[in-house]
Amino acid sequence: MNKYISIISAFFLLLIMNACQKGEINSLNTPVVGGIISNPTRSDLFNLVTGAESGMRNSFAPYLDGTGIIGREIYRFSSAEPRYTTDLLGGGTKVLDNNTFYLTNPWNARYQVIRQCFILQGSVANAREEVASAAQKKAFTGFAKTLIGYQLLLNINMTDANGARIPVADGVAQGPVVTDPAVVLDSVLKFLDEGKADLTGSEVIFPLSDGFAGFKDAAGLLKFNRALAARVHVYRKNWAAALTALNESFFDLNGSFSMGIYHYFSTNGGDLANTMYLAPNGAGEVRVAHPSFVTDLVAGDDRINKTALRNASASQGGLTGNRDVVIWTSLNSPISIIRNEELILLYAEAKIQAGAIPDAIVALNRIRTGHNLPSYAGSATTAALINELLYNRRYSLFMEGHRWIDLRRYDRLGTLPKDRPDDDVWTKYPLPQSESNI
């Protein structure tokens, strides 16, 4: 019997040892938020900045597709996702869904970056002096606030008068849904202005991707911040403030159209590929220009090259297009955030609206001649110039998320074509279900 006693005792001992195994099992896969806020290292702060920059790209494709489809810039054909041609075009009796990918994915991704920026600010505030000096900390917070403003802008662009919530720092109770887009845009401006204040006199120590090439230092980020502010001021019809902001930005009437800030994409490991790129002449997954793209284009306009004629036209749901969108030529192509061509157009618009017609025409001609068109020869009235401006905004900023918003600003959504009898042109996205079910 004795040998069994030893077996049993050993068994029990094993059990007891195991049962008394102590200790919490922590996160084995990722850092956790609580840890990084309390006492960050310099690398922690860098990682958070990189995450914020990187996160801005998440679900940006459905934003561009959605605004592009509703704004009748493109058709998006997909054998796997019929809602590009039903919901978004208002096909049949379909309406926009308040709880599906084309709305909730970009909406949530934008606020996620905003949350990240608040976490970054919280983390910076707790950083020791040896980690970042006061001036260095201001660069972090200035960058964070600039991104908050930009991300909020994209969301209110979608929902417009259905509103958005003004984001708040960690631990602060959420406010109501603000349904006046002007109020939300003013909040965007407030974030941008605070960002400007922080960036002024700051020192940037964090790395940014080459999407920020030329704008990686404090002066560059300040120009980026003001360029965004100029866009918002124009949306708010603050023409003078827009011109001031443009002056502080990288606006250059004679500069390269493409100079600006971009989302960097790459197929490298751990990075994100640009899914706005679809191989030309593809089938199944297709992004073609709306037929009106060509019919409305002035002959000779080189912006036709943003699209390329397909070998065979593509069709879905009774819609047909024959020009692929070729703005992005590979999975590694960057997508613009804001660039000089838009700034020139913002300048022109502010000048038209401020009554400075000759300045406006100079700017418009800069765009026209840059795209192989003769100088403007039309009437110099505000109405005619606005038509000209909108034409140029449509083609210069094709598929960069502008046309639908521009037509809404000028109350011209009614001019958009409806291709099928039951189609609709939506003026705004609904408020996401998660915002209203509270």
Partner: protein, 998 residues
């Protein structure tokens, strides 16, 4: 820490030395009371000892018993147990009566205790080997359960080789916690994770409509070889399963594998040869020149481009038609006939002290899609050894190699999976390779599905070892008291290798990522160990008290690494031979431990009272040190065993009630808010997860009350088991939606309560019982109703793909399984995934002793699916009924997707199915010494189905059932079965069986 060492020693001192007394030999024969046939395999045992033997093939036995032994216990599964008084004669002739009502069947109720079915307080389903695989074997173990468990909703996720089954006992146990039962094989906790192969990198399925992973991997329970199983007991809820602790909230499936028996070594060889075919094809649209043209746009469209395209399509169609090149790609893709070969060899036997069971099995099946299939090799060795009359040790070991090639199916957003590509491919395009083997580009989809099928690979390979031991020591034995120690432990280790290869010359790869090689490697180790002390104290003739105390510990560690190579070197699959690689890793670790005590009191062999309490903690809880307390109690009263009972004909009448609680631990990581990797431009970045963790997360608590009545009359030839249960889930764990403006899409929270109420009725009949014809029949009927009784968060949609396509929607006061969707501009109730009821009907007819016919009919009435397969074929203009007219002359295929009515695609998924049917013949053998038995049989599995459902099969789940959640991907939840998005079609099978026993 449970038992102070001193008390352990006291117990050990109670053990007296083994008395070696004089012996006496007893021999005899055992026969069936009706047929008179000898019964082999009957256990003859001296009460309160390990001394015993088993009858041989002729029903004979010899046993040496200590002199002075008064009684022998004779028992055999399916027969009534008997106590035989020894009258001094050394020769016994025993006849045994069949136990139609299974009253003497012994059921495991605690971790270390058992109870006779006639005293059982719970409705415990048992499935014998014959019921599991004896009619028409399924491909995998999990599929073999379908239709056999009253109270369960069992759904095949897809027809892909290698299984993948969702099992839900008594309604919704959990939404985001574990909703699948715990599988315990010979005391070893058997891991049943589903680990995705990373196909999402190619399909992008989780990138837009629903963030949950839709790779639909197989469940690891499929690794188990069904032929090794002796018996299955299913504890359906907390009232029965509470002693299994935290992992048992969704029920426990207790599997006992075959063990050797003392006596001659028995060799058994079984061969199954059969085929599989697709169960049903949806059919495809037959185009005409005009409908082909319509693909480009309406005939009255003024756009010259559209008109040009119309003419081109018309031309293309006419050319194809004239050349006889109109194809049915659905049939071509899913129409293969797969060969099934299944060989099993087992050896079992042993001596007085040691018995063994050794088996090997090889199963090879081809799928209904070319280049798909399933392969499983397994070996098992179970050894039982008696060290002495007091100590016995059992060891079970098993090694499994399984490999499944599963094709590329289910939802995708890139037009690459077979079904999605087919859905927009009309019949007049030629996708076949030319004589150089070059596949044409499919102008109607992002991929050429024939090319994808022929060049891709999606393989899951598992190498798995499962081993465990069970030590039982009779510590003390006296007239009135017997104390046992039971120690049990097990290890379940597997390496799971996934390899998905998409060469760079595929249509959808050549201009984009230029090839994907996705190599995944997972190591998973689960251990469980437990020690129990059980004392049976006979207070008097009329009362017996069993006390059990024990401690259990379970640990788990999983490490999953997936490397994705893109821009591949031509012809290579090694991830190193690629321009870009990315690697993901996910690890999870837990430690659960529990302590319990249980008391069972049996009075007059008629009244059973039991009570117990269990303390559980887990490192997955917010407070990992805190023990949560889960009580249970049960009562049963078998009135027929009372003295006053003398109603003839009613053999058994039992009232029973049981109550129990158990906890379901939160998923790993739910207490953290993670910062996920998010790099850009070569810099490492971290981005806050959109899932907010909750450091206060606690287990959801299930409380279950069940009560019932069991009656059997006419000597057990009619038995009824009726059960009502009320199962509540308190503090249900939800990953509930937050306003997106918080920056978080969802948050972990104990958010409310659920309730499931249901009825289970089982009727067992033996209508005919003569030597030449015997008919057994079992009818089960069950239903469940679930309801969200309390929700402290706003109601929210938890999937599938948004309101416009129908979504599960959690709302206080409504069924947990309700489906809501947009109708017009309103969000309306449009369906419910829960069946109205289910029914199964099992029959066995034995004719002239040697023929037996068995069949199982399963009826699921009600329960809606979200049929997005039809949506996709409508959108792709290939639905078989596309051109039929509806609603004033609109084509159905045009009307349905444009109607703005989500209820159109939410469809009734009722079915009646002959799950299994088999005819077997035992060849009567005369004068043979070597061959002891030959069996021949034919069977058909899932062969006949009646349903109005339009998809491939009413059983389907795009989201799988227990797909793991990693840091970056969301796994399955407990609600989303029944979402149909281009699954691998279900198959049916038919086989011929030969079995030889030596």
């Amino acid at each position: 820490m449970l038992f102070p060492k001193s008390s352990l020693l006291v117990l050990l001192f109670l053990c007296s030395a083994l008395a070696s007394l004089a012996q006496q030999n007893i021999s005899g024969k055992i026969k069936d009371a009706v047929s008179g046939k000898p019964i082999p395999g009957v256990t003859i045992r001296v009460p309160n000892s390990n001394r015993g033997t088993i009858s041989d093939a002729d029903g004979g036995f010899t046993l040496s018993v200590p002199s002075g032994t008064q009684q022998l216990l004779v028992s055999f599964t399916g027969y009534k147990s008997q106590t035989i008084k020894l009258s001094g004669s050394s020769s016994l002739n025993i006849t045994m009566e069949e136990d139609f009502a299974r009253l003497d069947e012994v059921v495991i109720t605690g971790l270390a205790t058992t109870v006779k079915r006639s005293n059982l307080a719970n409705a415990v389903a048992t499935i014998s080997a014959k019921e599991l695989t004896g009619t028409a074997p399924a491909q995998t173990f999990d599929a073999a359960l379908s239709g056999k468990v009253p109270g369960a909703l069992i759904t095949a996720n897809s027809g892909a080789p290698g299984g993948g089954i969702s099992v839900k006992m008594r309604g919704i146990t959990s939404v985001f916690g574990n909703s699948q039962p715990l599988y315990v094989v010979d005391g070893i906790f058997f891991n049943n994770s589903s680990i995705p192969a990373g196909l999402n990198d190619v399909t992008g399925a989780a990138t837009s409509g629903n963030p949950n992973n839709q790779d639909n991997p197989s469940s690891r329970i499929a690794d188990l070889n069904p032929a090794d199983i002796e018996n299955i007991e299913i504890l359906k809820g907390a009232s029965a399963a509470a002693m299994y602790g935290a992992k048992a909230a969704a029920g426990v499936v207790i599997i006992t594998t075959k063990k050797g028996k003392t006596g001659r070594t028995k060799v058994s060889l079984n061969q199954e040869t059969g085929f599989v075919k697709v169960r049903h094809l949806m059919g495809v649209r037959k185009f005409t020149a005009e409908t082909a043209a319509d693909l480009a746009g309406a005939a009255d469209n003024p756009d010259p481009d559209v008109q040009a395209r119309r003419n081109a399509y018309k031309q293309q169609f006419t050319t194809a038609q004239n050349a006889g090149k109109i194809f049915d790609y659905e049939k071509e893709m899913y129409g293969e006939t797969g060969l099934v070969l299944n060989t099993g060899l087992s050896l079992s036997g042993g001596g007085e002290k040691t018995t063994f069971y050794l088996s090997g099995n090889r199963r090879q099946e081809n799928g209904i899609v070319k280049h798909t299939g399933y392969f499983n090799n397994s070996v098992r060795l179970n050894v039982d050894h008696k060290l002495s009359d007091r100590v016995s040790l059992g060891v079970t070991t098993s090694y499994v190699y399984s490999s499944a090639d599963r094709g590329l199916t289910n939802n995708d957003n890139n037009g690459v999976s077979f079904g999605v590509a087919l859905s927009s491919t009309p019949d007049f395009v030629d996708l076949h390779p030319n004589n150089l083997g070059e596949y044409p580009r499919n102008p109607f989809a992002a991929s050429n599905p024939l090319e994808t099928r022929d060049k891709m690979m999606n393989n899951e390979t598992t190498n798995r070892f499962i081993g465990g031991g069970n030590l039982e020591v009779r510590l003390q034995q006296s007239d009135r008291s017997s104390t046992r120690f039971i120690g049990r432990g097990g290890v379940d280790y597997y390496n799971y290798k996934t390899a998905a290869l998409f060469p760079r010359d595929l249509q959808f790869e050549e201009n984009t990522a230029q090839g994907h090689s996705i190599q995944g490697n997972t190591n998973n180790l689960n251990t469980n160990i437990g020690g129990f002390l059980a004392n049976t104290f006979t207070i008097s003739e009329k009362a017996t008290l069993t006390s059990t105390a024990g401690a259990t510990l379970e640990t788990g560690y999983m490490d999953n690494i997936v490397t994705v190579g893109t821009n591949l070197v031509a012809g290579q699959s090694n991830v190193e031979a690629s321009a870009n690689t990315a690697t993901r890793q996910f690890r999870q670790k837990y430690r659960d431990n529990g302590l319990f005590i249980q008391e069972d009191l049996v009075l007059l062999d008629a009244i059973t009272l039991s009570g117990g309490v269990r303390f559980d903690r887990s490192t997955n809880n917010g407070d990992y040190k805190k023990y949560y307390v889960f009580p249970k109690g049960a009562f049963s009263w078998n009135i027929t065993k009372m003295k006053f009972w003398n109603t003839p004909g009613i053999e058994n009448l039992k009232l029973r009630a049981a109550y129990g609680q158990s906890g379901n631990v939160p998923p790993y990581g739910s207490k953290f808010t993670a910062l996920l990797g998010s790099n850009i431009g070569g810099y490492p970045g971290i981005l806050v997860d959109n899932l907010l963790g909750n450091s206060d997360i606690k287990p959801e608590r299930q409380t279950e009350f069940e009560t019932g009545l069991d009656v059997s009359v006419l000597n057990g030839r009619i038995s009824l088991e009726a059960t009502y249960y009320n199962k509540k889930i308190i503090d249900v764990l939800l990953r509930h939606a937050l306003p997106g403006s918080t920056g978080y899409a969802s948050e972990w929270k104990n958010s409310g309560d659920l309730r499931n109420q249901g009825i289970e009725l089982g009727l067992t009949l033996v209508p005919v019982n003569t030597p030449n014809l015997r008919w057994n029949s079992t009818v089960n009927w069950w239903r469940n109703r679930s309801k969200v009784t309390r929700l402290i968060i706003p109601p929210y949609a938890i999937g599938a793909f948004g309101n416009s396509l129908g979504t599960f929607y959690l709302e206080e006061g409504q069924p947990a399984t309700q489906i809501k969707g947009t109708v017009g501009s309103e969000l309306k109730l449009i369906g419910n995934a829960e069946p109205t009821f289910q029914m199964s009907f099992f029959n066995e007819l034995t004719i002239y002793k040697n023929f037996s016919l068995r069949f199982l009919i399963h009826w699921k009435n009600g329960g809606d699916n979200i049929n997005l397969t039809q949506l996709l074929t409508d959108a792709g203009a290939t639905s078989a009924d596309f051109d039929e007219l509806t609603h004033g002359g609109v084509k159905k295929g045009v009307y349905r997707p444009g109607a703005g009515d989500a209820s159109i695609y939410v469809q009734d998924a009722s079915y009646v199915r002959i799950r299994e049917i088999g005819l077997y013949y035992n060849v009567p053998l005369k004068n043979t010494n070597t061959i002891k038995g030959i069996r021949l049989g034919v069977s058909a599995n899932n062969f006949f189905t009646w349903t109005d459902y339009v998809g491939y099969d009413p059983e389907v789940s795009n989201f799988g059932s227990n797909t793991i959640t990693t840091s970056a991907s969301r796994g399955s939840n407990g609600l989303s079965t029944g979402v149909d998005v281009m699954p691998f079609p279900a198959s049916k099978r038919a086989s011929f069986h030969v079995g030889v026993d030596f």
